[in-house]
Symmetry: C2
Subunit: 500 residues, 2 copies
């Protein structure tokens, strides 16, 4: 029994290093457990894709081990706080960004009127090289558009760390990690870059996936004068406040597993009681620890359960139709694969999560702005859980010394009745979602206007459309990407017509 | 000769207390000289319109000494910094706002669907009671709309002073005085107020004049989900960077005077040399000082010139067609009146400006975000002047210990090619301007789309449309206000149709 279990767990281990937005706190107040950039970077280092030196340099981004699209790394002096003039505000940190100009149609006329567009990835919670490598769509379409590719790292991730080694993970330093500051970073960097390239008149389209997709859509809405359009892939901008039912996320995951195999669903659903039972005394915990060769004895069965939940969640998110390129060695349709394994043996499997206790950027964001309430319903395969703003606030205060502003995101960016609000305001946003991805439930799934549109694929997963095209892509992904290219081309054509 | 000169100067003295955006630094680096809220408040106190106690209370706002529209004053706990989670960020200050619910159609259905709209004035650089009193248009039209009137004070003005008596006018405290924080204040206060009134579904229209008009239009663009439309009167949102020719402001003033009397224009134009000549030695300065009964001897003729420039500028701004209600005892068409006096005697008149040296909110803003470059051309009646970003930055550092971010406003709010940018983005903004007002030159003077429109009156002055209607109003003001009401009614009707 141990062998197949280890096989499953090895799969889970791989899946669990995704740097995507993590799950909000559950019923019992407990620290958030997002994945840290450290873990991700460790993974990247193993593959020699990480870099740490300052200055401009050429980096080879190996995508799927097949293509080598070079980009140069640059560092932009960015002010710490764009919204105050307090003494710290003008402190400078160096924000990393990557550029690929292989396909760019350089400006020739005055003001760069003839230049190809800038396609800018609005970086999210992690090393920007990782996002660049995993956003092959931009490389794939750059030649057609003559586009300059720019990938901007989000402040406080990767190498773009204000205070650097002097950061003490307190509110004094981490307090400047907010989405609004990140958006202003993007606006300032893009404006400066265009000026330096004499390409002021070149149109800018922003791209992003997941939290990066949220940033891309918000950027189009808030910095309409900087970007002419946004492709926001798997952007759960409605996962806040009371907009989306709190149980929809875990219900969606449960649905993914149930659709593969009812037995798989039932086995997972029964796991939690087994874990509780086996972990109810020291003897059981010792057995579990030995079984999985844990370096220390597991103290609480809960920690195993949490870790399993995360693994099931990530597997659902990356339920891609093609093999293994989000991280590594991942089969096509991993939910199906996981269920195959699970269907082969009882589901009392578990392992100790060895989580570094260091501070983590997304943990901070999830405890300040990014409060996404989630609960489980009786229909789900997850154990019952509730959510309380007060308990979540207390947990955050305990873990990070900061209290959330749980309603800030909807105040700053909106979300309620978004169809009415954007019906006659704004333009040029694609919200793409795959329904296999639980984050889709907090996304925009219906067209809002003629130019704010939703592209939904029933079988798609977490920002699948942003990945490199492969020969095995199903027709519906090919079609989705074709539509995206067509729509973006329309934005650019219209921009040039308007400017003529 | 002294008597008519004193008459003129008495007029100028009255005019010079306007709290409107002041003129940016000229050629020689010299401190900005905006009008301080203190001076304004002193004026208000004389008329018993100021208040200082905390809590909710009824205040009688005497408008023109004719109508008494009551509003209640309230104080909203507002966080200091919405864009970071640094330790100071969650400090609370009390933001004053005024409410008039006399005409409000209160909500009856669920979510306040049937409620009348909220008409919200986005307060600018001064005591909010002063703006409420001088925005009679909102009181005039409230009955027709069944509107709730709300006037929100801008942070760091009036009674809404973070740190209160502990403010040391340094960057530590004043650094939180920015337009972005002010807009977020408005969004948070409005959202909270609507919830408390069970009027979540009631539409919000924002109103503002001058800097308040800039805030109103930016609020509609940035907080599209909070306000359905904006009336931005005399809002020079294009007076930044290189968007508007730097000499247009003073050329516009010169044009105002020239249009009344070529002699008036020429006399003023000759004034500066006379001043320089007479102020070139101690004897001349002593004579000037005695002539105008200055309490101290004037040290530099420049200071007299500066003061006169300000007076000519403000007179042009408030060149209203009806008598004397922007401050007091002001005749209709004050430029004409001033020229009548000037045409009667030589123009070597001057007086010592007695300017309090205390810190002032607008002075801070003009040294941080609100950098509006202005120069004079040979066509103007003003002495030659240039503008330099570097010198302006040095002057600000010297006067306020802070350096400007001169390109921030256009990065954050846009402005370049605004017609193209907003052509297919955004809706429901009225930009109203009167061409007698020099600030009109930095305003939006042409329709951008079917719902982002410009209402321009050739004879209008600084946010004339926002004033109370009077029986003497010329037809063109009556017509302008009628159009504004019609357009706003259209927004509200459409909103209700969309929500149905």
């Amino acid at each position: 029994m141990v062998a197949p279990l280890l096989e499953l767990l090895s799969l889970l281990l791989i899946l669990a290093v995704s740097p995507e937005p993590t799950i909000a706190a559950h019923s019992k107040p407990k620290p958030f457990r997002p994945l840290t950039p450290l873990r991700m970077q460790a993974l990247l280092r193993r593959h020699g894709r990480s870099s740490s030196s300052q200055g401009s340099k050429l980096v080879a981004a190996a995508a799927d081990g097949t293509a080598a699209n070079p980009f140069t790394a640059h560092y932009f002096p960015q002010e710490l706080d764009h919204f105050t003039f307090t003494p710290n505000a003008s402190m400078v940190f160096y924000q990393k960004y990557l550029v690929n100009d292989t396909f760019w149609r350089r400006p020739t006329g005055a003001g760069g009127a003839a230049a190809g567009p800038l396609f800018v990835y609005t970086g999210n919670e992690g090393d920007i090289e990782w996002f660049a490598t995993n956003t092959g769509f931009m490389f794939d379409i750059a030649p057609k558009f003559g586009a300059l590719l720019v990938f901007i790292e989000h402040r406080f991730y990767g190498e773009s760390i204000p205070f650097g080694n002097n950061s003490d993970n307190s509110a004094e330093t981490m307090g400047y990690l907010t989405s609004t500051q990140a958006l202003a970073d993007f606006a300032i960097l893009i404006t400066s870059l265009k000026r330096n390239l004499s390409a002021e008149a070149a149109p800018v389209v922003v791209f992003g996936g997941s939290y990066g997709g949220m940033l891309a859509s918000w950027f189009r809405l808030k910095y309409l004068h900087v970007a002419i359009g946004a492709l926001a892939s798997s952007a759960p901008i409605l996962q806040f406040d009371y907009i989306t039912p709190w149980n929809s996320f875990y219900d969606a995951i449960s649905q993914d597993y149930k659709s593969e195999s009812l037995n798989c669903f039932s086995v997972i659903k029964a796991t939690w009681d087994v874990l509780d039972e086996r972990g109810s005394d020291d003897k059981g915990l010792l057995e579990l620890s030995k079984l999985f060769r844990a370096c220390k004895t597991v103290k609480y069965a809960d920690s195993i359960g949490d870790w399993l939940e995360t693994a099931f969640t990530y597997t659902a998110m990356v339920d891609y139709p093609t093999p293994a390129n989000f991280l590594e060695n991942l089969p096509a349709y991993p939910v199906k694969e996981m269920c195959k394994i699970i269907d082969g043996f009882p589901a009392n499997a578990d392992i100790l999560e060895k989580r570094p206790l260091m501070f983590c950027g997304w943990g901070w964001q999830a405890c300040t702005e990014m409060i996404m309430p989630m609960t489980t319903s009786h229909e789900s395969m997850f154990p019952p859980s509730t959510f309380s703003y007060d308990e979540s606030s207390d947990a955050c205060f305990q873990s990070n010394g900061v209290r959330p502003r749980p309603h800030w995101i909807t105040t700053e960016y909106g979300g309620y009745r978004i169809d009415k609000v954007l019906k006659r305001f704004g333009s040029n946003i694609i919200f793409s979602n795959g329904m296999r991805d639980p984050w889709s439930r907090g996304g925009v799934l219906k067209n809002i206007s003629s130019s704010i549109v939703a592209l939904v694929t029933e079988k798609g997963a977490h920002h699948l459309d942003l990945r490199y095209a492969t020969k095995d892509d199903p027709d519906w992904v090919v079609e989705q990407r074709r539509q995206e290219v067509e729509i973006i081309q329309g934005w650019i054509d219209q921009y040039h017509q308007d400017m003529a």
